[in-house]
């Protein structure tokens, strides 16, 4: 399976290379993907908790904003 490609522009020699990520770059890329998925899960969990609380209080999101303003 091919890896994501990376464009490297050596600005001193003006040479441009397009190649697949090497092992270290691919590892960093996978770490970033994990971080992204964690952020997505956190965002989803927060939204879910917020919706549960609004339901418990019996108010809408707009009404909650009005209360806090």
């Amino acid at each position: 399976m091919s890896r994501p490609t990376i464009r490297i522009h050596n600005v001193t020699t003006n040479e441009v290379f397009d190649r697949e990520m090497d092992d270290a770059e691919f590892e960093a890329y996978q770490d970033r993907q994990k971080q992204y998925l964690m952020e997505q899960a956190e965002t989803k969990a927060k939204a879910s908790a917020k919706a549960d609380l609004l339901k418990k209080l019996g108010i809408t999101a707009e009404e909650a904003v009005l209360l806090l303003s």
Partner: protein
């Protein structure tokens, strides 16, 4: 007039003498090029003028020129023209890249080595601004590497860029991971400073997912004293404007603190938080004296 080999008894014409006189006075017609070019033996003693809107190279190979030969090169186009060592060796105390209206000449010391002497206009002592590189953004990650440390400040503009699928732009310096970057920014409509990627391997440049394949986005970055190796923080100030996934205008501004105090910045990398690819974009790197 390119270098000639005269023979005994040859009669020179008035046109030849005029052309030789022009060459001797550093003038004469240049051979116009509009794309990357490899020098040939007939270029000895002549002039090349490059005129291209995109980056080009002039390649220098061995066994074509004799010691003492010269070739004068001028860049008339907006694209950077870089003198590139092919099979020959090219040394220079200045950059081998010619920005628009810059010029220099190759002075061959042997058949396989030349010194590139760049015109003084290329090396302003202060206040000068040079377009170092122009890079079309493609792939998952765009890396500007081997940034010369000969300028005081760097300026980066990425124009008309977009992800292939909605995502947030991130940046990383010197390819370094660990706790090396800290970013903080605020976005239009937000009253809170956001600091979601504090002390991580990369810095985030916007809180909004930028719309896929939209060409209205522009990033502007300033990096003062990027090549300093003293014990001072490397600070980047940035501004980003584009459209979010709801087609609304969005902008953010903030800073990146690169935490490797004693390390010069020689590489800049840009990528998307989701791992998607660049659908478009052009990155311009400027050096400021």
């Amino acid at each position: 007039m390119a270098k000639q080999t005269f023979t005994t008894g040859q009669v020179l014409t008035a046109a030849q003498m005029t052309s030789l006189q022009q060459t001797a006075m550093c003038g004469g017609a240049a051979s116009a090029k509009t794309a990357s070019y490899t020098l040939v033996a007939a270029d000895a003693g002549g002039a090349i003028s490059m005129n291209s809107a995109t980056s080009t190279t002039i390649t220098v190979n061995t066994a074509l020129f004799a010691a003492g030969d010269t070739v004068f090169i001028t860049n008339l186009g907006a694209g950077i023209c870089t003198i590139t060592a092919g099979t020959a060796t090219v040394n220079s105390s200045a950059s081998l890249a010619l920005a628009q209206y810059e010029s220099g000449f190759l002075d061959f010391t042997t058949t396989s080595a030349a010194i590139f002497v760049k015109g003084s206009g290329a090396a302003a002592a202060s206040g000068g601004m040079t377009l170092i590189s122009t890079t079309a953004c493609t792939g998952t990650s765009v890396v500007l590497s081997s940034i010369p440390g000969t300028y005081t400040n760097l300026q980066v503009i990425i124009d008309n860029f977009a992800p292939s699928a909605a995502a947030k732009l991130e940046a990383r310096y010197n390819g370094q991971g660990g706790t090396t970057h800290q970013s903080a920014y605020f976005s239009l409509g937000s009253t809170t400073f956001l600091n979601p990627t504090s002390k991580t391997s990369q810095a985030r440049l916007t809180d909004a997912n930028l719309r896929a394949s939209n060409n209205e986005t522009r990033l502007f970055m300033n990096i003062p004293y990027y090549s300093s190796t003293d014990n001072q923080k490397k600070l980047t100030q940035f501004q980003l404007a584009g459209q979010n996934t709801s087609n609304q205008d969005t902008q953010s501004m903030g800073y990146i603190m690169y935490q490797q105090n004693n390390t010069a910045i020689t590489q800049l990398e840009f990528f998307w938080d989701t791992g998607t690819t660049f659908a478009s974009g052009t990155a311009y790197l400027w050096g400021i004296k």
